[in-house]
């Protein structure tokens, strides 16, 4: 089966700064997540495949056609940009009908589609409020709404969950999954692994402008799980915690911070560690004030994967 989206040797620079380098990728229907730290090249890739940017080298194709200035492709494309940008003086309803009118729908159809999609993203009750008065979550959802209102075959979402509260995240994830259920193609970018896991198992790891790995979530997990994780637990009983967990075979190292009453565990089996910690807290009276992961960010994992 021919890929919906094809990137062949895509490279793009911004002056001396590298955006992406020699990216070759084929994307099939379903949800594909681009996972990478900030500045990895995810947005550049998305801008190229949505015709916002031209590649310096290589080509981006959708349904076998070049994307730049291709109106036929744009009709089948829904793009949710990363920037929190709107025509602020418009109401949510006007914003959607206005953008829908650019597809050439009749006014009545624009209204119907806008009303429908406003209900889907649960903004129907606030449709006559100016976008500038919307909360961050509402703005993110109206941005997703404008991308899906014309019922495109391909949906490109650049960090759609960024800045959302957990409830809004769930709503958007549900929406994306529903879109997939209709056999459509969705490309979504994120720098947060658990968010991506909630949406899809098909992941492309992108780092410093290059595709680092591609596979399902289990493969990526395996890669990531070989990376030792640091987990800091702040507790009045931090020494007791360390004593109980020290014999576990997945604990590589333990260090203390007397000043803020915390203990840092280093483990290469994060899931097993957290399962044990959950049991421990439930079984005993141990009080835990705070759990943080000093290196639990994608950058650290990526640096580890590329051998930095």
């Amino acid at each position: 089966m021919r890929a919906v989206i094809e990137a062949r040797d895509l490279s793009r620079w911004y002056g001396n700064v590298l955006g992406i380098s020699e990216v070759t990728l084929e994307i099939q229907p379903g949800i594909t997540a681009l996972l990478g730290p900030n500045g990895a090249g995810k947005s550049t890739f998305m801008k190229i495949i949505t015709g916002q940017l031209k590649p310096n080298i290589g080509e981006a194709m959708i349904y076998g056609e070049r994307v730049w200035n291709n109106r036929r492709i744009f009709r089948q494309l829904g793009f949710c940009p990363e920037a929190d940008a709107f025509y602020e003086e418009l109401t949510g309803f006007e914003f959607l009908t206005g953008l829908l009118s650019l597809y050439g729908f009749r006014q009545s159809e624009c209204r119907e589609r806008a009303e429908h999609v406003l209900k889907v993203v649960e903004l129907y009750d606030v449709r006559h409020r100016q976008v500038r008065s919307y909360s961050r979550g509402m703005r993110q959802r109206i941005k997703v709404a404008q991308a899906i209102a014309h019922d495109p075959e391909i949906l490109i979402l650049d960090e759609p969950l960024s800045g959302l509260d957990p409830l809004s995240k769930r709503r958007v994830i549900k929406l994306i999954k529903e879109f997939k259920a209709h056999g459509k193609t969705i490309v979504v970018s994120s720098h947060v692994l658990p968010e991506v896991e909630a949406m899809t198992s098909e992941i492309v790891l992108i780092h410093q402008g290059k595709i680092l790995a591609r596979g399902d979530i289990y493969f990526i997990r395996e890669l990531i799980d070989t990376h030792p994780h640091m987990i800091r637990i702040k507790s009045p009983a931090f020494r007791e915690l360390a004593r109980i967990l020290a014999p576990e075979d997945y604990i590589l190292n333990i260090s203390f911070n007397q000043e803020d009453q915390s203990v840092i565990f280093e483990t290469h089996h994060r899931d097993r560690f957290f399962n044990r910690l959950n049991d421990l807290v439930l079984e005993s009276d141990l009080k835990v004030d705070e759990i943080t992961s000093p290196d639990d960010n994608l950058q650290a994992i990526f640096d580890y994967l590329v051998g930095k």
Partner: protein
């Protein structure tokens, strides 16, 4: 393409009507009405003997021609691309099934309509303030129509030029200011053919008060060597068409990057 231009036009005309900028410029255009009220009061007090028509043509037209159409065209024209870049809204347009040239042409026509509406309401209101009395005849409104059409040609030419700057330059407003209030203000007074390198020259060539040196304010119009009206109209239309075509061409091929 025509339908695409119409779609963009409708969207931006609606957006423009709601914008704070349009409201601000509408208020600014009312300065002419205020001036008209002051002059009318002055005339009623017997300090000014010229007729309303003469005052309108020789005094208020300077405001419209040398200031209002330039400022309107400057702020709307140079914002055509810049506002989408600064507001980061360009992807909403450039990911739609619309030719890039249609985006520019549609926005241009929307802004031309908006600015013309602002201007014509100020022209009409100030004309009526100066001329509405027992001698007023409907035929007097022909003056308003004639002057409005000339101002429309001026807006079309300036707006096309500033739209072109917007597609070409990152910060078009400074160059636009220098052109609108520097070049245009100076070159039109140069003798010989030099003055023909200004838009204002062709606009003035279409107005009777500039082509003769009669009247109280005749000293303001010295040295105009008018082009023939047909040539002036054609040149203004040519300026508008050429710069609009250039703007569309640049926008069709150029990539626009946000600041970061």
């Amino acid at each position: 393409m025509k339908s695409e231009i119409l779609r963009v036009f409708s969207f931006y005309f609606f957006l423009g009507k709601k914008s704070t900028r349009t409201k601000i410029f509408f208020v600014l255009s009312l300065v002419s009405v205020l001036l008209a009220v002051v002059i009318r009061v002055y005339r009623l007090a017997g300090h000014w003997t010229e007729s309303g028509q003469v005052v309108f043509q020789n005094f208020l037209m300077v405001f419209f021609l040398q200031f209002l159409i330039i400022i309107l065209a400057l702020f709307y024209g140079t914002s055509t691309v810049a506002e989408e870049l600064e507001g980061r809204t360009l992807p909403y347009l450039s990911s739609r099934p619309i030719a890039r040239a249609a985006i520019i042409t549609g926005k241009y026509l929307a802004y031309l309509s908006l600015t013309f509406m602002i201007m014509v309401s100020a022209v009409l209101a100030s004309f009526l303030v100066l001329n509405l009395d027992q001698d007023f005849r409907l035929a007097d409104l022909l003056t308003v129509i004639r002057y409005s059409l000339v101002l429309l040609l001026g807006l079309a030419a300036y707006l096309a030029f500033f739209t072109f700057l917007s597609t070409w330059l990152k910060k078009p407003i400074l160059v636009g200011l220098a052109f609108g209030f520097g070049w245009e203000s100076v070159i039109q007074y140069f003798p010989g053919t030099t003055q023909k390198f200004s838009v204002a020259h062709y606009l003035k060539s279409l107005l009777p008060q500039y082509t003769t040196s009669a009247g109280k304010l005749g000293f303001l119009f010295i040295r105009l060597e008018p082009s023939r009206p047909a040539i002036a109209v054609m040149t203004l239309l040519l300026i508008a068409s050429v710069f609009l075509a250039l703007a569309s061409l640049i926008f069709s091929y150029k990539e626009y990057l946000f600041e970061d």
